[in-house]
């Protein structure tokens, strides 16, 4: 049974308190209507089986510190989606703002269209706990900056507008994790500490099910299986700044 909470005339603090209250009572499907920039939806929630549908446009820090639930946004999202998220899933049927997946530690985020600046920065990863962030469209500057773990996938396939798939300072300071970008990334945009490689057959078989899942999640029909146009970006040094210091 899906329960509905209308966000109309509610301050975010009250809205989020009601969501928590329902989740604590064991409700597993909640639909939020009339969402108009309400901040912190699903922030810090740890209910593994909770499914949240958001109608309207959520505010900043959707799913910040989130640790388990699934959140589906039927529209665009604001800045800070999945900030320091630990587990769970976020699906955005549209585009997202800046700093998506900041310091993300686990779980998955799919953004159907593009996203803004500083996407996937400081992403972490340890052993089997590897976060994954997939963006269907394009992204701005500082993509994957200071990345330390996890997977960041940029497809450049949706969202309509044309232009470069990614902005300057891509993967600057990256020292762990993997970035896959479909489309051309000029050499000058990449941080000195990383290198771009063509995909190996293993990379392709790793990516294929993720791409299939991404397309199915949004009922998209685009060909993104042209693995020749992908590049894999990985750090070539684990200590990009190791030589900077004298002891």
């Amino acid at each position: 049974m899906e329960e509905v909470i209308s966000a109309k005339d509610l301050y975010y603090r009250e809205l989020n308190a009601r969501i928590r209250q329902k989740a604590r009572a064991g409700v597993e499907h909640i639909r939020l209507t009339d969402v108009q920039g309400h901040r912190y939806i699903a922030c810090g929630l740890q209910f593994k089986n909770l499914q949240l549908r958001v109608s309207g446009v959520p505010g900043e820090d959707l799913g910040a510190f989130m640790d388990g639930p699934t959140v589906v946004v039927e529209n665009n999202a604001q800045n800070g989606v999945g900030n320091t998220m630990n587990d769970g899933r976020i699906l955005v049927h549209g585009m997202a703002g800046d700093v998506v997946g900041y310091g993300m530690r686990g779980g998955r985020i799919y953004i159907r269209d593009g996203a803004g600046y500083r996407v996937g920065i400081h992403m972490k990863g340890f052993k089997e706990k590897q976060p994954m962030l997939v963006i269907g469209g394009r992204a701005g500057k500082f993509f994957g900056e200071y990345m330390a773990g996890g997977y960041l996938i940029l497809l450049g396939a949706t969202g309509g507008s044309t232009g470069p798939v990614v902005g300057d300072y891509c993967a600057t300071g990256m020292h762990g994790g993997t970035i896959f970008i479909r489309g051309k990334v000029e050499e000058y945009k990449l941080g000195k500490e990383v290198k771009a490689f063509p995909l190996t057959p293993e990379d392709e078989s790793f990516l294929r099910p993720i791409l299939v899942d991404f397309l199915e999640s949004f009922a998209l029909d685009v060909n993104i299986f042209d693995f020749d146009s992908y590049q894999k970006i990985v750090p070539v040094s684990t200590r990009p700044y190791g030589k900077l210091y004298a002891y």
Partner: protein, 541 residues
């Protein structure tokens, strides 16, 4: 110098940067000469900067060859030559940590400052010459540990306390109750019995002294454990720093302040909820404007797990937080943490003391912080560029006085507590800081000294001979957690009594009455403008 030994062309002379982990297996010395000037035979190209800074003097007739000093020195500085049956030193490598001195059973070792032969120069101090040479050698930024060690004047040392005489009798803390309890957090707008209005979460400190942020990684597992035990025992708090909270320490949830910095190491909802309060780190007094940096040498498997970064990488936590470019952005993060913790804990924001601190603090309070930490330029660090540690930031005394004044003028002082940090050395500094407007203070270097730190400033190398700022398995047991806890508890108890004494002699019976009570302070040797900046009067007036 009699029996002392120096070396000349000793093959064990090594660049300190390369000594990490190698403790043995080095060849014995060849023909050590007993002539100090033998150093000239070092080829200048090889050891351009290696004029020893310290000289390890050993009275060989008293040495019993137990080799304790050889085993205890983590800096590859001491070795035994079995052929000659003599213990020698590589003076270049000595950092004057004094570990060997303390451990030698016959006390026959003495560390002396080495007269490098540079002519005295009031402008080109030896530390500058050394720095220049090392940079020419490495091309790197000089890294160091601990706090600013340059002889800037201290305001604490130019402030004296008042005492009661005749007209306002002092109070004897041994006979009468003396209240040191301090609540940190936002206070209600007003209070009317029966209708308290909105009440905000506060944390209770039995003594207005908390342990400053020191991350696991920068400090040892045992030392953090000791801080936790002492905080619990004394009714105060320790702070995780930005390195996450080890699962073993989650049981100290009521005694810990957990930090969120730009690297977001170890931050998840459980972490935020395993706390008494949460703190956003914007800046650090030792290195205002630049971020955290845990050198790769210190990132072992355990640190890698708590921080979720690869082993051996530098743990970078750059400034700024890349989602915070304004007070509005800061508000977003403060409230993200409040939402995640359901408004059950105060949220603190820590900044370095800089020129505009008062205005910045006002913005931080308006952004919703319940506690503001102002960290002065004497604050320590596990690793920072020396040039920044020594030249950036301002003394906490002035920043604190100005911030407190500003918040009072704006009528928002009750909306946040202030913690002063950075170079608090004794209980008098605590009392002066509170009278200048702080609610409480953070201490770190004092706590490290309490457990054995000799201020050798090598924390960034991860080889601390006292087991404080290292996690190397062989060095870790040098500081057992219970010993650390005992000494830290001792320190705080001592300060507790002294603070009570000082309150009593001022005729006060609670720390509340001291807060921002600048009439209890007087300045000596300060200019009119300095007195005005601190908001205190000249001694005698």
């Amino acid at each position: 110098m009699g029996n002392t030994t120096t070396l000349s062309d000793n093959p064990r002379v090594s660049n300190p940067a390369n000594t990490n982990g190698s403790k043995s297996g080095l060849p014995p010395a060849t023909s050590p000469k007993s002539d100090l000037m033998g150093l000239q035979s070092l080829r200048p190209d090889d050891h351009f900067h290696s004029y020893p800074e310290y000289f390890v003097e050993r009275r060989h007739e008293e040495c019993i060859r137990c080799l304790v000093c050889v085993r205890q020195c983590p800096y590859d500085c001491t070795y035994y030559d079995p052929d000659r049956d003599v213990v020698y030193n590589v003076h270049q490598n000595c950092v004057n940590c004094k570990r060997c001195v303390a451990m030698c059973p016959t006390h026959c070792i003495r560390i002396e400052r080495f007269d490098s032969g540079f002519r005295d120069n009031g402008h080109w101090g030896t530390h500058l010459v050394r720095g220049l040479r090392k940079q020419a050698d490495t091309g790197g930024v000089l890294l160091t540990g601990l706090g600013n060690d340059l002889p800037y004047p201290s305001y604490f040392d130019r402030i004296v306390l008042d005492a009661s005489q005749v007209t306002n009798p002092s109070i004897d803390p041994l006979r009468e109750p003396m209240e040191l309890r301090t609540y940190l957090g936002r206070k209600p707008e007003s209070y009317r019995p029966g209708s308290p209005g909105e009440v905000f979460p506060n944390i209770l400190c039995e003594i207005p002294v908390l342990f400053a942020p020191m991350s696991f990684g920068a400090i040892s597992y045992n030392f953090q454990h000791g801080l936790a035990l002492a905080a619990q025992e004394m009714g105060t708090y320790f702070n995780t720093g930005e390195g996450g909270l080890h699962p073993d320490f989650r049981k100290f949830r009521d005694s810990v302040i957990v930090q969120v910095a730009s690297g977001r190491f170890g931050v998840d909802p459980d972490y935020l909820l395993s706390s008494a309060a949460c703190e956003i780190k914007i800046g650090q007094g030792a290195k205002p404007g630049i971020g955290g940096h845990l050198p790769g040498e210190k990132v072992n498997a355990e640190i890698s797990r708590t921080r979720m970064i690869p082993v051996g990488t530098d743990a970078l936590s750059p400034a700024p937080q890349h989602d915070i470019y304004s007070i509005e952005d800061l508000r977003l993060l403060i409230y993200a943490i409040k939402e995640a913790t359901e408004y059950t804990r105060p949220v603190s924001v820590k900044i370095a003391a800089v020129h505009n601190t008062a205005a910045i603090v006002s913005g931080i309070v308006r952004a919703g912080a319940d506690i503001v930490v102002i960290d002065g330029f004497r604050g320590g660090t596990g690793a920072a560029p020396m040039i920044i540690r020594d030249h950036v930031g301002i003394p906490v005394e002035v920043a604190l006085a100005q911030a407190d004044q500003r918040l009072r003028e704006e009528g928002i002082r009750h909306q946040a507590s202030i913690i002063a940090a950075g170079g608090i050395r004794n209980s008098a500094d605590v009392v002066k800081a509170i009278a200048l407007g702080a609610d409480a203070v953070y201490i770190a270097t004092s706590a490290m000294i309490a457990v054995g730190c000799t201020l050798c400033q090598q924390c960034h190398r991860g080889l601390c001979a006292w087991g404080i700022t290292t996690n190397r398995p062989d060095l870790l047991p040098r500081l057992p957690a219970d010993q650390a806890a005992g000494r830290l508890t001792g320190l705080l108890r001592g300060w507790q009594h002294e603070i009570q004494e000082m309150l009593g002699l001022m005729g006060l019976n609670s720390i509340e009455s001291l807060r921002g009570n600048r009439l209890k302070l007087r300045g000596v040797g300060l200019t009119q403008l300095e007195l005005q900046t601190l908001g205190i009067r000249q001694a005698g007036l």
